[in-house]
C-alpha cells in the first residue's frame, strides 16, 4: 500500500493537485510539522501544538488538498538539522506568507531579516514595521508567527531585557538563543 500512496502523491504534485504538502521532522525539541505550498514553506508547527489541529487549519485556510509528502522537505529537513547542530546561520528556503496579513505580516517579514545570533525588542520590531507605537501589536505578530524557527521570532525580546513569550514555551526560546550564542 505504501508505494501506491507514494505514487499517488507524486502524481498529485505533477498534476498541480498538491496544494499543501506536509511532513513530520525530528528536532531536539520534539517533532515539528512542516507544511508547504508550491510557493514555499507556509507553516511550522512546534511540538507543543497538536499537529492534527494545524492540518485542519491548513485545510480550512489554504486548501483541503493536504497530503503527506516527506520527499518535498529534504532540503528543509537538512537545513533544520544543520541549524540545530549550530552549523547553519541562515535558512535558504522559499517562504509562502499567505497565512499572515497587514501589520502582522510586516512585522513577521521584518523578523525574517533579524540576523542569526542577534536580538531585537518588540519596540524595534514595531518601528521596522512602520509603527513604533504599536508595540503590543508587534508582540501579537511575534506570537502568531506561522513559521517559527525559520522566521526567528525567538530573537525578539522585551525592551527591559526580559525574554518575553514564545509559542513553543520559554525553555525552547532560551535553548534557541543559547544555541545562537546570545545567552
Amino acid at each position: 500500500m505504501k508505494t501506491s500512496l507514494d505514487r499517488l502523491t507524486e502524481r498529485a504534485a505533477a498534476e498541480g493537485l498538491l496544494d499543501v504538502a506536509y511532513a513530520n521532522v525530528d528536532s531536539p525539541f520534539g517533532q515539528l510539522l512542516l507544511a508547504a505550498t508550491p510557493r514555499g514553506l507556509v507553516r511550522v508547527n512546534l511540538p507543543n501544538y497538536d499537529p492534527e489541529e494545524t492540518l485542519e487549519e491548513l485545510a480550512a485556510k489554504v486548501s483541503p488538498r493536504v497530503l503527506e509528502a516527506p520527499a518535498k522537505f529534504e532540503r528543509a529537513r537538512r537545513e533544520l538539522d544543520l541549524y540545530f547542530e549550530g552549523k547553519l546561520t541562515e535558512f535558504d528556503l522559499p517562504i509562502d506568507w499567505q497565512l499572515t496579513h497587514g501589520f502582522r505580516g510586516k512585522v513577521q517579514r521584518a523578523i525574517k531579516r533579524i540576523p542569526y545570533g542577534q536580538t531585537r525588542t518588540y519596540t524595534e520590531m514595531a518601528r521596522s514595521a512602520g509603527n513604533e507605537r504599536a508595540v503590543r501589536a508587534a508582540g501579537t505578530a511575534c506570537g502568531s508567527n506561522p513559521i517559527p524557527i525559520v522566521v526567528p521570532c525567538h530573537r525578539v525580546l522585551r525592551s527591559g531585557g526580559g525574554l518575553g513569550g514564545y509559542g513553543g514555551g520559554l525553555p525552547m526560546k532560551e535553548e534557541l538563543l543559547r544555541l545562537e550564542g546570545v545567552l
Binding site: L8, L55, E56, A59, P64, R65, V66
Partner: protein, 154 residues
C-alpha cells in the same frame, strides 16, 4: 456542513476499502491503476465537494466509475450500471470454513454484495455506491445472496 478534513486523513481512513473494492471489481493486477485514477479524480473534485458527511460513499462512487472506465478501455462489453464484472471479489483474509468458497459460487452481484458487506464491512448505502445501484437493489442482492448461502451451507 462539515468542514472538509485534510485529504490525507481521507486517504488514511479509506484507501484500504477502496483498494479492496477495486480488486474485486477489476482484479488484483489492474486495481492499482484504478486506485490511482480514483484518488486523483477525488483530489481534483475535493475542494468543491458540498459536504464531508459521506466521504467513503463518495469515494466508492468514483471507484465504481473508474472500474467501468477500465472495463470499457479494455474493450470488454460495456457494463450496465448495475452489473459487476465476472472476476471474484477477493477478501483479503477470509475466515474460511467453506463459506467463502460458497460465496465465490454466488452470481456476481450477490457475491459482490456479500463480500462488500461481510468482507469489507460496508453499510448498504456504500455497497450501493460501489455497485452503482440503488441502496434497495444492494439490499436485495445481499438478501438473496445470504438466502442462497444458507441453503448451500445448511
Amino acid at each position: 456542513m462539515t468542514a472538509l478534513p485534510p485529504f490525507q486523513s481521507i486517504l488514511d481512513e479509506h484507501a484500504a476499502v477502496v483498494m479492496g473494492v477495486l480488486r474485486g471489481a477489476v482484479g488484483r493486477a489492474d486495481a492499482e491503476d484504478c486506485f490511482q485514477e480514483t484518488f486523483l479524480a477525488a483530489l481534483r473534485a475535493y475542494p468543491k465537494l458540498d459536504n464531508a458527511d459521506n466521504l467513503r460513499g463518495w469515494l466508492l462512487t468514483i471507484a465504481h466509475r473508474k472500474a467501468i472506465d477500465h472495463h470499457r478501455a479494455n474493450g470488454r462489453r460495456p457494463l450496465a450500471v448495475a452489473q459487476v464484472p465476472e472476476t471474484g471479489i477477493e477478501d483479503p483474509d477470509p475466515a474460511d470454513n467453506g463459506i467463502w468458497t460458497a460465496v465465490d459460487a454466488l452470481p456476481p452481484k450477490q457475491r459482490a454484495a456479500v463480500a462488500l458487506r461481510y468482507g469489507s464491512d460496508l453499510p448498504h448505502a456504500e455497497i450501493a455506491a460501489a455497485l452503482g445501484c440503488s441502496p434497495e437493489a444492494a439490499r436485495r442482492s445481499l438478501h438473496e445472496g445470504i438466502k442462497r448461502l444458507r441453503k448451500e451451507l445448511a
